[in-house]
């Protein structure tokens, strides 16, 4: 019987097809190929839903689709591309294809209606972006994941640099690719290390590398030396490999210290920002950790590092978001911060919590970006919040949906973000109290960040929509059409309700475990060894993670209280007819935050102050010394030739004399050698 899994490759191929169509014939198509993209992503969405339903029926799929490189001899490993369809990827497929579809529709309003040129290029990029991300999601092995990871990077480059005629976007695109490339370097080392260690890179199944690693741990079923650990003990080596792969995650998911590309990436069109932040590129990193969680669960060190990077990034980025002027900049830092929470959740042993936050964040962040896009259309592409104000009455649909997203972002009950963020923090707390005390530090940072999140989110809302209009454009904003409002409404509803699928605290309180749908979804029906249940066992056995039993109510109330405090402060300071720049009172700290802790300056200095002089010095060395030796050899021989030719005097008698002398010398030499004179 032909089922959903047989059509699953089409989920990836449809957007790819739209890429080809837009690239080749976008010029001749109405709307620059937009409809092809919409149809393709809609098709992907339908197929994803079908796959989702099939997976919820308990079926999974883990099979090779295409042998990329076939080993000729028995010993040679074949490199394959395949599909892994399990609860995690089925869920992610829906998120990605849904957000991609909405972004395509929104683009009709943001790009087509605004009369942009180069639309075929834009829609081709969107199509390829979607296809790459979907390919990444269904990847059944680490190599395939890496390949699509890189393609995602390419698409981000193309789309961030969409407005290539200006100075800023190409530079931002370059930075995005280069910084993530730096992370991908470690990822690639990790990939070859995984191949060298396990001889396979499959994610799931009995021959998958997380499983082989699990068996090879001390006390595992495999004999010592079953895998090549390069002279390290297995745990150390797996930690090293895990951290190498993590390099790619840190780059793509914009974690400290490789987060700097993301705010710059705001130079791209806003729908692209929505796609990058919500569902594709940035999500790829976190998704990768979740995908190979069975491997990370073996190494408490790697988990602790993940948790700390996450917690620190959450706080670090939130502080910077407090002082930004542009609406998209605030959202950019909130994205970094939110992905920090996901990393914190993964590192703290909250696999389900992090996945949950990945899902809710995809909805509310896509919503916020599209809402910001709507505002930007209205403001004639002015992004400065201080030029806005009072847009609430002029654009109610945008306002209410944006508010829904903001409430979710700030983590106010009962919006989506509350449930997921709360659960992440809860997991960090219970595992921290359960013996892994290091996690408490990460938890504390995450908790403080909640306050900042509440504050900057509502500062943004109040500055943008409340108070008096502060400029002419804000008094008379440009209207938006259905193609902008439609996606906003869909996402607004999701941002408000998506959290209800996994109300852990409520379940705990009411004693109704049945309503934690996501927990059930990830715990059962998956492929053996990749279920969240198995991960919990692994965490306990290998990483020594134990959860204290604690009611989720109190921690939930604490974080809610902090979020409300932040939002309340913003209300007091900014929800007035003409707000002042209160952050100026922070003085030096504001300057520090506004300049992103001088991270960009540091990286620019690394590029211009270190690498460039080094390259110039190397060039001097090469031209002077290495090439100098070559030229020196030629000069020496030219000089020697110039001297020796002086014997060519032009006087015949001299030549005759030389001949005679030569002959005599030869006779003498032969004579002495031959013993004629003895």
């Amino acid at each position: 019987m032909v089922g959903a899994f047989d059509y699953a490759p089409a989920i990836v191929l449809l957007p790819f097809l739209s890429f080809l169509v837009a690239l080749a014939g976008g010029k001749y198509l109405p709307k620059g190929g937009a409809f092809g993209g919409i149809a393709a992503t809609a098709g992907s969405l339908l197929l994803s839903v079908w796959v989702f339903l099939t997976v919820s029926g308990g079926e999974t799929h883990n099979d090779t689709l295409y042998t990329w490189v076939a080993g000729v001899s028995e010993e040679t490993v074949s490199l394959e591309l395949g599909l892994l369809l399990d609860p995690l990827s089925a869920m992610m497929l829906i998120i990605v294809s849904l957000v991609a579809l909405l972004v395509h529709v929104f683009s009709l309003g943001y790009m087509n209606d605004e009369g942009e040129t180069g639309l075929p290029r834009y829609y081709a990029g969107l199509g390829l972006f979607t296809a790459s991300m979907l390919g990444f999601v269904v990847a059944d092995n680490l190599l395939m994941a890496f390949m699509f990871f890189e393609l995602v990077g390419l698409c981000s480059y193309l789309l961030i640099g969409f407005w290539f005629r200006q100075e800023g976007p190409p530079s931002a695109a370059k930075k995005a690719f280069l910084v993530t490339r730096f992370g991908d370097y470690f990822f690639l080392v990790g990939v070859v290390a995984v191949f060298a260690t396990f001889g396979t890179a499959a994610f799931a199944g009995p021959d998958s590398f997380p499983h082989i690693a699990e068996l090879a741990m001390p006390g595992g079923e495999s004999p010592d030396g079953a895998v090549n650990t390069f002279g390290f003990d297995p745990r150390t080596w797996f930690t090293i490999v895990g951290l190498l792969v993590l390099g790619g995650v840190v780059g793509k998911s914009a974690q400290f210290p490789l987060h700097t590309w993301l705010p710059d990436a705001m130079e791209g069109p806003t729908p692209v920002s929505a796609l990058i932040h919500a569902a594709t590129m940035v999500a790829a990193g976190v998704y990768l950790v979740a995908r190979m969680y069975g491997f990370y669960a073996l190494s408490p060190t790697a988990l602790a590092i993940i948790a700390f990077i996450g917690g620190f990034t959450a706080l670090f980025a939130a502080t910077m978001g407090v002082v930004k002027r542009e609406i998209k900049q605030v959202l950019a830092y909130s994205t970094i911060s939110q992905y920090g929470y996901m990393m914190l959740g993964l590192g703290a042993g909250g696999y389900v919590a992090a996945t949950f936050h990945l899902m809710t964040h995809a909805f509310f962040k896509a919503l916020l970006f599209l809402g910001a896009g709507s505002v930007i259309i209205a403001m004639h592409h002015n992004e400065n919040m201080w030029d806005m104000g009072g847009l609430k009455e002029k654009m109610p649909v945008t306002y209410y949906t944006f508010l829904s997203g903001s409430l979710a972002l700030a983590g106010i009950v009962p919006f989506a973000g509350f449930w997921s963020k709360d659960e992440v923090l809860y997991e960090a707390l219970v595992h921290g109290l359960g013996g892994s005390t290091l996690l408490l530090g990460a938890y504390a940072m995450g908790l403080v960040a909640v306050f900042f999140t509440g504050f900057y989110t509502f500062r943004m809302v109040f500055l943008t929509f409340h108070g008096e209009p502060r400029t002419e454009t804000a008094r008379d904003p440009h209207g938006v059409r259905w193609n902008v409002k439609g996606p906003l409404v869909v996402l607004g509803v999701l941002a408000a309700t998506a959290g209800l699928v996994n109300m852990t605290p409520v379940a705990e309180m009411l004693g109704m475990p049945g309503i934690e749908l996501l927990h059930k979804w990830l715990a059962h029906g998956g492929i053996e060894m990749t279920t969240s249940e198995h991960y919990v066992t692994l965490l306990e056995e290998q990483a020594d993670y134990h959860a204290t039993h604690l009611s989720p109510l109190v921690p939930g109330l604490v974080s809610l209280g902090l979020a409300l405090a932040g939002a309340g402060l913003a209300h007091v300071l900014y929800n007035v007819p003409s707000p002042e720049r209160h952050t100026d009172k922070l003085g030096a700290i504001k300057t520090l935050w506004y300049n992103n802790y001088y991270q960009d300056e540091l990286q620019v200095w690394l590029a211009d102050g270190v690498v460039r002089p080094l390259a110039r010095a190397a060039d001097k060395f090469d031209q002077g010394v290495v090439d100098g030796v070559v030229d020196g050899v030629s000069s020496v021989s030219l000089f020697a030739g110039g001297r020796v030719r002086r014997i060519q005097t032009g006087i015949v008698s001299n030549y005759a004399a030389l001949l005679t002398l030569g002959l005599t010398a030869l006779v003498l030499v032969f004579g002495i050698m031959g013993g004629w004179f003895v």
């Binding site: 370059k174 690639l188 290390a193 191949f195 390259a615 190397a618 030629s634």
Partner: protein, 508 residues
């Protein structure tokens, strides 16, 4: 006989073009250059050999007839292809043909001589890759230098004489060093082979039949010969620190010559390294594993850092070739299927991609008459198609998956990391892999400054769209690159087949 036909057709084509009038030479050469492409594709499709030609595997399209007797040594006309040379032959014909198309615009004087020399070079290149007798091989090997010398010296840039002489003398001296090394081996083998037949010599050397020569023990002789041949080929590859002829030659050479220089001529060095050093003397190669891996890493990183400092687009691509060739060396020393096979694959991949990059630079130069990064900006606005292909090629160079460069590099990394020749190989591999970051750095910087941003051009030329005969060859190359990236098995299957005997039988 098809090999003889292929080489002969190319030689005849060269002669015909040489005497043809200038007005038709370009078109005639392009038309005739399609013949070898068809021939090589036919060979590729009907390729039926198995194993490595030098270790007793079967050889496709083999001819072996005694040719000369020379001092007790029989010289054979011995040609044939195996899984290592077949892809290189296909790449050579395709790249040369496309380069000839791309030469129509920039070459505007003495066309018939230019295209005649070009085809003459192609014939010799084919000979290098298909010869299986040292004598025959060496004639072709040296004869390649002559047309390239003239191509640079006559049609080159302002410092063409310096560059041409440097190229010729440097590589020729290297050939001498290599020749002495190889001759010592042949004389050391003495009566057990008494010919210059490469398969026979290879089998004898691998079988340990080398005797002492003039009181030098077989081991010392092998080590010395290995070093001499390695140095000789290192110049050709080029491996740092023997690379300085390359940027000069590239900068001065006319673009079509650059395409073939980077695409095919550099591969002669790595091909010879694989055929001679790494096939015939695996024990010495593994004994020298650490220094060889070290120069490979040095080539990758140092070449890439030098590329960062360049302002001339052609110099950037030239130095990046040094970097890419370093990967090939790393793959060769890994001594496993993915390492050596990946190195061979990377030769093809780099040939196609660097060819594409040079063509792209050439098209930009033809319209703007400058190659300096600082002289232009925002070219994408005026040349969208060229920019598109150039960006695609640049990402191919950076190792974008599903393009040939990624396949080659990944195979090499995978092989080298898992290599057992020395415990330090994973470290060398990880160090050399950092090249993928630097390559992204200089290409992205160069593209940002030349192709994007507001349009500006500091030379007094009207920017026009590129002609079809300029963009179509680039597009064809791009398609080849993507095809090989999506299905590396097109070549990698036969490469593996030819490489496996080396890595299986060559190591203890």
């Amino acid at each position: 006989m098809i090999i003889e036909a292929l080489i002969a057709v190319t030689f005849v084509a060269a002669l015909v073009v040489f005497v043809a009038p200038d007005e038709v030479a370009g078109r005639l050469a392009a038309a005739l250059s399609v013949l070898p492409v068809l021939g090589s594709l036919y060979m590729w499709s009907s390729y039926d050999a198995a194993g490595n030609a030098l270790t007793g595997g079967s050889v496709a399209f083999e001819t072996m007839v005694p040719w000369l007797e020379l001092g007790g040594y029989t010289l054979h006309w011995h040609v044939g292809v195996d899984g290592i040379s077949m892809p290189l032959v296909v790449m050579t014909t395709i790249l040369t043909s496309l380069a000839i198309f791309s030469a129509w615009t920039p070459i505007d004087d003495r066309q018939s001589q230019f295209y005649g020399l070009f085809l003459f070079m192609e014939a010799n290149l084919l000979g290098v890759f298909m010869a299986l007798d040292f004598f025959v091989w060496f004639i072709f090997w040296e004869a390649v230098l002559v047309p390239m010398y003239f191509l640079i010296g006559i049609w080159g840039g302002p410092r063409r004489k310096y560059a041409a002489i440097k190229f010729f003398v440097y590589t020729n001296i290297a050939s001498l060093v290599m020749f002495i090394g190889f001759a010592a081996l042949v004389f050391g083998l003495g009566d057990s082979v008494s010919s210059f037949d490469l398969p026979a010599i290879s089998r004898a050397l691998r079988g340990g039949e080398l005797g002492s020569l003039y009181g030098v023990s077989a081991e010392t002789l092998k080590a010395v010969a290995f070093v001499a041949m390695f140095l000789g080929f290192a110049v050709k590859v080029p491996i740092v620190p023997f690379h300085t002829w390359l940027p000069d030659a590239h900068v001065e050479a006319p673009t079509p010559a650059s395409v073939v220089l980077a695409g095919v001529l550099l591969k002669m060095g790595t091909y010879a390294l694989l055929r001679f050093n790494f096939t015939m003397m695996p024990d010495q190669a593994t004994a020298f594993a650490v220094p060889i891996a070290a120069v490979a890493v040095l080539s990758v990183i140092y070449g890439a850092i030098l590329a960062l400092a360049q302002q001339d687009l052609k110099r950037i691509v030239a130095y990046s070739s040094v970097s890419s060739m370093g990967y090939v060396i790393l793959g060769l020393i890994a001594y496993n299927t993915y390492g050596v096979g990946g190195a061979t694959f990377q030769m093809i991949a780099h040939g196609l991609i660097s060819g594409l990059m040079f063509m792209g630079v050439g098209v930009i130069y033809n319209t703007t008459h400058t190659r300096m990064v600082g002289d232009m900006s925002g070219m994408a606005d005026r040349m969208p198609v060229t920019t598109g292909i150039f960006v695609a090629g640049a990402f191919g160079y950076m190792g974008l998956p599903l393009m040939a460069g990624f396949a080659g590099e990944f195979f090499i990394f995978k092989g080298a990391f898992a290599s057992t020749v020395h415990a330090s190989m994973p470290l060398f591999t990880a160090a050399s892999m950092f090249g993928i970051v630097i390559v992204a750095g200089y290409l992205l910087f160069a593209m940002q400054r030349t192709l994007f941003g507001p349009f500006r051009l500091d030379t007094d030329y009207e920017v026009t769209t590129a002609a079809l005969h300029e963009t179509v060859p680039m597009f064809v190359l791009l398609l080849c690159i993507i095809a090989l990236g999506v299905d590396p098995g097109l070549f990698f299957r036969m490469i593996q087949d030819a490489v496996n005997p080396l890595v299986g039988g060559g190591l203890p």
